[in-house]
């Protein structure tokens, strides 16, 4: 039974690579049709996610990633279920935003160890601003070795002071480069953030909205996507 399941999955993967375009249009569950048990489990995971208003696109992508990496079907289901849970937590923390990119960015941040409370705090401070890029940068910083609390406090301060998306990304890139060159993450983040913060204006009273004096909207990134 196990041999047959693997053989069918291998054929499925080979066929998918050869004919990727039509396959990409398939539903996530049909991607696992070669394994009825896994497909059934995945169907239940997706149903629960849909009931919780969790965006399904990241889950579909996770299934495709698992298939491309030739992971066992049940492991793909397990990874998808855990991602669905992170998406649910991120959606709750970032409410009322329902944009897929923003929620997926929040789920990634949770995956590397950021606490949901920090996501809530960022949403409360910046209700009208897309947090997709800031959360992506936060995830990068934590993945680079910066503590989640330090990285979270820094991103919050940078947003308060009107840092743009390119500035945030440049900061993360420089920290990563320094860490790669041998600096400890804490030294790298202190060095690079000091340089960036010194170029930014002090936090303004209305910085919570991500707007600089003069009404210039800062931070870049795409605005929250309204839920259809």
């Amino acid at each position: 039974m196990m041999v047959r399941r693997w053989a069918r999955l291998a054929v499925l993967c080979a066929g998918r690579i050869a004919t990727a375009a039509p396959l990409l249009a398939q539903s996530p569950t049909s991607l696992l049709d070669a394994d009825p048990l896994a497909a059934d489990s995945l169907r239940r995971v997706l149903a629960r996610a849909e009931a919780a208003a969790v965006p399904l696109e990241p889950l579909t992508l996770k299934v495709r990633e698992g298939l491309a990496k030739q992971a066992p079907p049940l492991r793909i289901v397990d990874a998808t279920a855990r991602l669905a849970e992170r998406l649910r937590l991120a959606r709750t923390a970032l409410a009322p935003t329902t944009g897929t990119d923003e929620i997926a960015a929040g789920a990634d941040a949770l995956y590397v160890g950021v606490q949901p409370l920090l996501l809530q705090d960022l949403r409360r401070r910046f209700p009208a601003r897309s947090l997709t890029i800031p959360l992506g940068v936060l995830t990068q910083l934590v993945a680079s070795g910066v503590s989640a609390s330090r990285a979270g406090a820094l991103v919050r301060e940078l947003l308060d002071r009107g840092a743009s998306a390119p500035q945030l990304i440049a900061l993360s890139t420089e920290v990563q480069r320094d860490v790669g060159a041998g600096l400890s993450p804490s030294v790298a983040i202190a060095l690079r953030s000091g340089g960036l913060l010194s170029t930014l204006p002090a936090a303004s009273a209305n910085s919570g909205g991500g707007v600089l004096p003069g009404g210039v909207t800062t931070g870049g990134g795409r605005p929250p996507t309204p839920r259809p």
């Binding site: 690579i17 990727a20 990409l24 992508l61 996770k62 495709r64 990633e65 698992g66 298939l67 491309a68 990496k69 992971a71 492991r75 793909i76 397990d78 990874a79 855990r82 991602l83 990119d101 997926a104 960015a105 990634d108 995956y111 590397v112 997709t132 890029i133 992506g136 940068v137 995830t139 990068q140 910083l141 993945a143 680079s144 998306a165 390119p166 990304i169 993360s172 890139t173 420089e174 990563q176 320094d178 790669g180 060159a181 041998g182 600096l183 400890s184 030294v187 202190a190 060095l191 000091g194 340089g195 010194s198 170029t199 870049g220 990134g221 795409r222």
Partner: protein, 387 residues
Amino acid sequence: MPLHRWGRLAHRGFAALLLGAPLAARAQTAPVVSVVELASSAIAPSRAQTIAGLAAALRASQDRRDWQWSSHLGVGAGGGRGAATAAGASLTLSPMRWPSLALALDGEGAAFANVVETAGSTARVGARGFWRLGAVTIVPSVSAATTRRSEISPRSARVADVAVQWQTGDWRLTGFAARHATTDWPLIEASGFLLTRSASAYALRDHGAGIEWGTSSRRVGLTWSRRTGLNATSGRDASWLLSAEWPLTRRVSAVVVAGDVLADPLRSTVAGQLVSLGLRAVVGGGVPRPRRGAIATMRLVERGGVVTAELLSDGPLDEPAEWTSSHVDWVPQPFQWERGRWVARVPLPSGRHRLAVRRPGGPWESPAGAPAASDDFGGSAALIVVP
């Protein structure tokens, strides 16, 4: 050639190692690092003459919240039948408030003695600025020099130069022009300088260009320069200089400088061929730590508003690497074989992406050079954010 000048030749070669390299390096961003350098130089003004010397240097930098500084101290001793010692020091201050600006103060001094003829010293102090405008760095410099010799009264000279550096990827192109001038400097006698008139002044104009390839741990550069002007050097008026730094271990690298040097009235040296071999050891932080076993390295390059992930893999020809990413729905894509290595250039749209690489049949892993996280399937993926 007068004996007293032999010893002074040696520290000419030290200058490139002791002062030039650290300042050039500062034009990029210096990490916190302490470096000890040890170099031996030999200069041959002619086939029959060779002067050897030894130099040691200590370099350190430190970062504060508002300032970054780096310092450099070097000493050298040269020997022939005369003897010389040389010392150089530099201090670079970079205000964090203006990340594109840095200011370097540097100086060097030399003392020389010869039991037969003379003794004396030279000294130089100067300032250098680094003004970064995107990929271009402008480096203006001014300095003043003085010399004391037992047989003449003290003399002084002025030096001003400007260099423009353009950096793209691992390559750096440099063009420079310099002017040395004095009104009262006596020509040194019977060496490499042209004595067409009994002027007591000189005005030299140097210009040249260089190209350098370098990563965080290795560097190769070639510089061409030409000297013209009143009482300029005779015989040789153009020079090529090759410099290289190559890692031997994670903390020790070899430094080589070789080529022609022109006569230098500032230091009373004549033209010749220079060879300098040195070891550079990092004793503090700042040592690159390439991840062992990384399948590929990645860096993001922006050209014309398009961000591209450039992946390089040093695997053999019969082991083509593959990459995959969330933005291509995780469909594996091949690297291309270019100039002896596997290369992939992946244009990335705006947004968040995850990217992984692998060898045939191997696990998917994140490339070195990017933050990475586990992928839930036993491997890892690079986390990329594109504005």
